[in-house]
């Protein structure tokens, strides 16, 4: 406990310096603005702003604080387009549209927006408190991890991905493998052998992480916008004067707390983030409401509060495995992990011990970011909602220009610009075919970690593959990996059998 308090002390002393405080606020503001653009979700928002934040040349803890602010802001800004436009910015916001948009159309747009701000705030705060309690515990556990345990952890992470994320397990695995394969391009660090660089000098150092992120998320998003633009106009619900009341909050307080917890726990599971968390929370609330839940999907405030709280709960939860084990808990945290690596900060069990100012500074900035978002959003939501009315013909070139600025300002290499266009086309095709893009980026970020740990484990054992199954930790992780694949199949079989029995009666 003392350790947590002193850590938080360190963190706040970093995050409360005027400069960093300004960055949190600025990041939240910019993140909300870009997240509120129609169709641009948090992951795209963070992707588009990441290279620019990197190019500013701040010290690592400041840059990370800025990014965390953007991440938080974009998570919130995405809700505005879900509620007012019925266009979810990402998979995590789909559940928000179910009750949020009907509320707005029933003349409660202001209430829906303010309630989602409060629910997000509670979800975010609950998860960041839990994170500061459990993070260091998990880190001290992770210190003992050997390379073979890391291999088991990766297997667990990809099992979670395959079982819980995306439309079909095979497609999710293919996506992850594409990411892993992209990560093998470049000179092998252990032997100096070139792999898949075909003598192109720009590929010797491997494909830059930022290029993959901007290409797959930013540029693919642009093609998606261009494609959907032809198909008719989006209509915005105007904001009205309605506002969340204490009675609403009293009615939803347990919903919000439960959903925050669900969100946090699902966020901690490697690979699964906001989309799974919000879906599970929404389903749980609907089931618990029983007969009183007939209004779900038509504008029930509980149906809006649950996914919103779970969403932000998972945002904090997803940072736990990333900061403590180096395994990102979701697609967006995979981007943050890549950002850490760019600053030569290796997240993992040693981070809390070696770079406390970064680990705790980030956590403290999330406390501040939560408050900042609530303060920014309740009065300024009208301003952010104006972003929705930016016509598509200005928005589309704007995304491309932001992406070009970000990519070019890293090293000034025009070759990178062609790479992001190519990856953008590829990402758009993947999206059209119902592939989730988050597994690709997770695979890409985890690729070298996975490979290096496997090779290190086998050099320790002198080539004996049994080392992979030699420790208790690894066996537990393999068991969990099997469980996470088998249990959902078993559950769906069981519920189908129940349904069949019910029909017989």
């Amino acid at each position: 406990m003392m350790e947590v308090l002193s850590g938080l002390g360190t963190g706040f002393s970093v995050a409360l310096t005027p400069f960093n405080l300004m960055l949190v606020l600025g990041g939240c503001f910019a993140g909300t603005l870009i997240g509120a653009l129609p169709g641009i979700g948090p992951i795209n928002g963070v992707a588009i702003l990441l290279p620019i934040a990197y190019g500013l040349g701040f010290p690592p803890e400041s840059a990370l604080i800025l990014l965390a602010g953007i991440y938080y802001g974009a998570e919130y800004g995405g809700r505005i387009s879900s509620i007012l436009l019925n266009v979810p910015g990402d998979a995590g916001a789909v559940m928000t549209t179910l009750d949020g948009n009907p509320m707005a159309r029933n003349g409660q747009a202001g209430k829906a927006l303010s309630l989602s701000a409060v629910a997000s705030f509670v979800g975010g705060t609950v998860s960041v408190v839990l994170m500061s309690l459990f993070g260091p515990v998990l880190a001290s556990f992770g210190v003992k991890f050997q390379p073979s345990d890391y291999v088991a952890l990766m297997v667990f992470a990809f099992a979670c991905l395959a079982s819980l994320v995306g439309s079909s397990p095979v497609k999710t695995l293919i996506g992850a493998l594409i990411g892993l394969m992209l990560a093998t391009v470049g000179v092998d660090a252990n032997t100096g052998v070139q792999r898949y660089s075909f003598g192109i000098p720009d590929l010797l150092a491997g494909i830059d992480f930022l290029i993959v992120v901007i290409g797959l998320f930013g540029m693919a998003e642009l093609f998606h916008l261009v494609e959907s633009q032809v198909r008719g106009r989006l209509s915005t619900v105007p904001i009205d004067k309605s506002f969340v009341t204490w009675a609403d909050l009293a009615r939803t307080k347990w919903t919000i707390l439960r959903s925050s917890l669900i969100g946090f726990i699902i966020g901690v599971l490697p690979g699964t983030g906001a989309s799974v968390a919000s879906a599970v929370a929404y389903g749980t609330e609907k089931r618990m409401a029983g007969a009183g839940g007939a209004n779900f999907g038509k504008g029930d405030i509980r149906g809006l509060a649950a996914p919103e709280a779970a969403n932000n709960g998972s945002a904090g939860g997803a940072l736990v495995p990333m900061l403590t084990l180096g395994i990102p808990g979701s697609g967006t945290t995979a981007i943050l992990l890549g950002a850490l690596l760019m600053f030569n900060v290796t997240p993992g069990p040693m981070l809390f011990a070696q770079r406390p100012e970064i680990a705790w500074g980030l956590i403290a900035s999330m406390y501040i970011g939560n408050v900042a978002l609530l303060v920014l959003n309740l009065p300024l939501v009208g301003l952010f909602a104006r972003m929705l009315t930016i016509p598509q013909h200005y928005l589309t070139p704007l995304i491309a220009i932001l992406a070009f600025i970000g990519i070019y300002s890293i090293v000034g290499n025009p070759f990178d610009l062609y790479m992001i266009i190519g990856l953008g086309v590829f990402g758009w095709i993947l999206r059209k075919l119902d592939f989730a893009l988050a597994p690709v980026i997770l695979g890409f970020v985890l690729g070298s970690l996975f490979e290096n740990n496997l090779r290190r484990a086998l050099s320790i054992s002198g080539g004996d593959w049994r080392i992979l199954f030699s420790t208790v930790d690894s066996l537990v992780l393999y068991a969990l990996a099997v469980a996470v694949v088998v249990v959902p199949i078993w559950l769906s079989r069981r519920s189908r059998r129940f349904a069949a029995v019910a029909e017989d009666e």
Partner: protein, 145 residues
């Protein structure tokens, strides 16, 4: 059907990837049991297994893009490539002004507004990014800030 085509195309890429891993990549000398080729070999085998699964049971019904959308996508792609080609030689201000004006015009803005948008974004973006944020952008033939 689109799933099958995609899986087949990716299978070709994976076969090349795997062939390189099995027959080409090798370290001149190494002390570790696993060299640089082992991991790509594993990946290519896993990928082929998954692709066989997708070929066996495709999930997406149709690709669902109509004619006008294809035309517009191709146009935007061409504009992007043109922007990338001109980015360094023309410099940020000129290339961005051109790209922004033409793209917004083609996507539906009126000429005067599109032109104004291009000029504003080109000049304003340069002032903001280079003057205020100190980012590295090409100046082209225009004098550096």
């Amino acid at each position: 059907m689109p799933d099958r085509i995609f899986a087949a195309a990716l299978a070709v890429v994976t076969l090349i990837y795997g062939a390189l891993a099995f027959f080409v990549i090798s370290a001149p000398f190494q002390y570790d049991p696993l060299g640089p080729e082992a991991w790509p070999r594993l990946l290519s085998v896993a990928m082929l297994l998954c692709l066989i699964g997708l070929l066996w049971r495709p999930a997406t019904r149709d690709f669902d893009v109509d004619g006008p959308s294809w035309a517009r996508l191709a146009l935007v792609l061409a504009l992007l490539v043109g922007y990338a080609v001109l980015f360094q030689p023309l410099g940020f201000i000129l290339s961005t002004a051109l790209f922004a004006a033409i793209t917004s015009r083609l996507l539906g803005a009126a000429w005067p507004r599109a032109a104004l948008f291009g000029v504003l974004i080109g000049a304003g973006g340069y002032l903001l990014c280079v003057g205020l944020l100190d980012l590295n952008l090409p100046a082209g033939p225009l004098p550096r800030l």
